[in-house]
Amino acid sequence: MSKYIVTQNVADCIGCRACEVHCKDKNNSGPGAFYCRMIEVSSAKTSPPQIDFVYLACFHCEKPWCVDACPTGAMRRRELDGIVYVDEKTCVGCKACITACPWTVPQWNPDTGKVGKCDLCKDRIDEGLEPACVTKCTTGCLTFTTPSQASQTARQAFAEQLLHNRR
């Protein structure tokens, strides 16, 4: 796990896919390649219906299968903060990482014949900024944080709701 995590408040997500576009615009991922994706989950069994969207990018695993599978060392994990990224020059397009990842997260760029993936916009992080998807999310439903901070924030919200409901 990288030291960072992107959390999503599903209640505030409207499935507008701005995150996907901001990512593609910034990272030039190529046609059909999405470093992050909003997955729609809907059901008409209830009224109102359930129409939700789940944000899926890369989990930046602590022990990434993709890095282990890469024969050229193109897929790397940054020691500084655990961000998993591709060194494009070294990638030969063998797709071993795509096969190795349990969630098939690495994306194929047909224009370059190489793999690309979410690196949490590490160039922005290095400038003290947040990833494109989070920065410009239409509703602010995405948060760039750390696991411990995310936990604290969630617990705080739950505690407030608990007491609010009791009154």
Partner: protein
């Protein structure tokens, strides 16, 4: 060199404030302008695809003159000088023979229209028209008939509302960034949301109550609600006593429209309607019943919207936190407004070709009505219309029945399209003048009404990539070549800005810091004891005699919509969050999100037809037919089918989107001649199509 520029997005008609970072003349980053607190850095998908639009070469990149038949797509690149000469020569001939009134102009309205209106006026024509016959005309005219105020004279305080009621107003997909953020804050603050739509959009998923109403029966539900609210006394008596005329007549009129009656028409149980009205009574005055944004749908949409306007008054939610409020202008802040460019041009006293203000006395002259202008072109009555400027507006997909539109427009002597994209309409023009993308152009200053009024500026962030010009340059140059330079004493955009700001006490440099200037630091609310309405009585008119005298009854009895013929479905259409008005289906990024639309069809209805999810189906109406994949779902009413709007382009140079999906408007045959007689909005939800399983090709 790094620069930060503040401007106004142009990817859709919402026109959000944006920040653009430029490095050595190249745009490197775009985000919401966070100096506007309601906006923050948020930007929707369309705004995020702005750089991709600029880079896209499948757009007009130089002036084009038609060579072959209209619509054949044979073009010759020309210099600006040659294109201007061509237009000027043709136009001078038309002006000489038929006068200025033979010129017609349409655009998408908005805060930058003043200069274009000035141009049309300078040619001596009354025929400036915006897109509103396929948008909010019904809502606007309904608002005028109740309040004497236009639809833009009200805004909505979602954040503080207790109950938000939406008749198909799809806030989460027809996105205004600031609005949807406020809407979600309202929900977080505990607002109830009732969403009513034959199709469950994403907004239905955010609602606390969703009603899959029978298509075309909104007015019936509203009558049932009004009956329940009035007869139970569940309204704001103090507000109604003070500001509302006509309650006794209203009550008499409502007598037959009980909840049980409404249940029979709409398919929504009487007990549910009553429970809902009881909630409204608890939640008022912090209630917003949205009167509709795009409401060119049914023949009674004007009256549905009118009833919503009335119910808001009964809730007492006018100029009320958590309800509706008046967007304040410069004058309300004690300041002068921007000087009008059209005011520099001599008045035109001709009758409008579309009949607004004459044959149709109830319709505003300001925005016109495109479908009756088409009728004027077709018939030559009340006078010949020979030239048409279509400015970043695409009637061929916005209005019904593209083939019929082609037949009519082919009668014109000159069609000039000014656009950023190859719109379907531009493709049929004689001349295409390519406009700079919004990133590449300045515009005239705009007024920003709200609780804290101000002015905003769209400025050029980067130089044009192609041989294109800004709209203001195009129209000022054309006016000068046509001998109307006196009306446009400007050479640069700064000259125009200077003129607009003349009496305001604001200077051009004041826009540099944030991109906008606020004229008040405090939110301005009017005294609720001294509210004024624009009707002749100064009150809210449930029965408006002035409109009655113009042939528009205030309270017409309900007429149920026709049901679909056996084997047919009512064709509904709408938008998602990452496309708008068919402008971006060929955008390199946005087409990657979705390049083809599907046909939503109810599970039970599909089952009867042997249609399974993902099957190719044949959609047909008369001689129009096309294939599309079915999306089988209970999220749509059994009487209707639905498709996203704007797909299925036939412009061959838009290679990413050519021929993908179906274009809903092609199936609306005959509907160019059918509109809401009161409000003027086209009946875009009144076509029926058959759906059959297509044999696999």
């Amino acid at each position: 060199m790094k620069e930060t520029k503040y401007s106004i997005c142009g990817m859709c008609a919402v026109r959000c404030p944006v920040t653009v970072q430029v490095e050595n003349g190249k745009p490197v980053w775009i985000e919401g302008n966070s100096h506007d607190g309601g906006m923050g850095k948020s930007l929707c998908a369309k705004g995020g695809a702005a750089f991709a639009q600029r880079q896209d070469r499948q757009r007009p990149t130089a002036p084009l003159l038609r060579r072959g038949q209209r619509g054949a797509g044979e073009w010759r690149e020309a210099s600006w000088d040659e294109a201007f000469d061509y237009i000027t020569t043709r136009l001078q001939g038309i002006l000489k023979e038929h006068g200025g009134r033979a010129v017609m102009f349409s655009d998408r309205g908005g805060p930058f229209a003043d200069l274009r209106q000035a141009f049309v006026k300078a040619l001596g024509s009354p025929n400036y028209i915006n897109h509103d016959c396929t948008c909010g005309r019904n809502v606007h005219h309904a608002s005028k008939s109740v309040y004497g105020l236009g639809r833009k004279d009200f805004a909505y305080d979602y954040e503080n509302a207790r109950h938000i009621v939406l008749f198909g107003r799809n806030i989460t997909e027809s996105i205004k960034v600031k609005e949807v953020k406020n809407f979600l804050k309202g929900i977080k603050n505990g607002a109830r949301v009732t969403y009513i739509d034959p199709r469950a959009s994403v907004t239905a998923g955010k609602a606390s109550r969703y009603w899959q109403i029978k298509p075309g029966t909104d007015y019936a539900l509203l009558l049932g609600m009004a009956h329940c609210i009035v007869n139970n006394g569940w309204y704001d008596r103090e507000f109604v006593d003070r500001y509302v005329n006509g309650l006794p007549e209203f009550k008499t009129f409502l007598a037959p429209y009980t909840s049980e009656w409404a249940a029979g028409e709409t398919g929504i149980a009487a007990a549910e309607i009553e429970a809902f009205c009881r909630e409204l009574n608890e939640d008022r005055p912090k209630v917003i019943i949205h009167p509709g944004w795009m409401l060119a749908r049914y023949r009674d949409s004007f009256h549905a919207s009118r009833m919503i306007h009335i119910l808001n008054a009964l809730m007492g939610s006018i100029e009320q936190p958590g309800g509706l409020f008046y967007p304040k202008g410069p004058k309300d802040a004690g300041k002068s407004g921007l000087k009008s460019l059209a005011a520099l041009v001599p008045a035109v006293n001709e009758e409008r070709a579309d009949g607004c203000g004459s044959r149709y006395p109830q319709w505003d002259k300001g925005a016109g009505m495109l479908q009756t202008a088409y009728a004027a072109i077709d018939s030559g009555q009340p006078y010949p219309v020979k030239a048409y400027f279509v400015h970043r507006h695409n009637p061929f997909i916005a209005l019904p029945d593209t083939n019929e539109q082609r037949r009519i427009l082919d009668k014109l002597d000159l069609i000039v399209a000014v656009d950023v994209n190859f719109s379907e309409t531009a493709w049929f023009a004689d001349v295409i003048l390519p406009e700079n993308t919004f990133l590449e152009r300045d515009d005239i200053l705009r007024t920003e009404k709200g609780l804290k009024p101000g002015f905003g500026r769209r400025q050029q962030c980067v130089k044009p990539l192609n041989n294109t010009k800004a709209g203001w340059e195009i129209y000022v140059e054309l006016a000068k070549r046509l001998g109307k330079g006196d009306c446009f004493p400007f050479n640069t955009i700064e000259d125009i800005w200077q003129y607009q700001l003349q009496d305001t006490g604001v200077s051009i440099a004041d826009f540099d810091a944030k991109g906008f200037v606020k004229l008040s630091n405090q939110a301005i609310w009017f005294d609720r004891d001294k509210l004024k309405f624009g009707t002749e009585s100064g009150k809210i008119e449930l029965v408006n005699q002035k409109w009655e005298a113009m042939g528009v009854p205030s309270l017409p009895p309900y007429v149920a919509p026709e049901g679909p013929p056996a084997g047919s479905f009512r064709l509904l259409f709408g938008r998602n969050g990452y496309q708008a008005h068919g402008m971006h289906h060929n955008n390199p990024i946005l087409c990657d999100l979705l390049d083809v639309n599907k046909l939503w069809i109810n599970s039970a209805a599909a089952g009867k037809l042997g249609i399974k999810d993902g099957d190719q189906v044949l959609v047909a109406n008369g001689d129009m037919e096309g294939k599309i994949a079915a999306y089988v779902t209970d999220l749509i009413h059994p009487e209707a089918v639905f498709m996203l709007h704007g797909f299925g382009t036939d412009v061959p140079v838009k290679k990413r989107s050519l021929g993908k999906g179906l274009a809903d408007q092609l199936f609306m045959q005959g509907k160019l001649k059918e509109w809401d007689q009161a409000g003027g909005g086209l009946n875009l939800a009144e076509s029926f199509v058959t759906v059959t399983r297509a044999t696999r090709a």
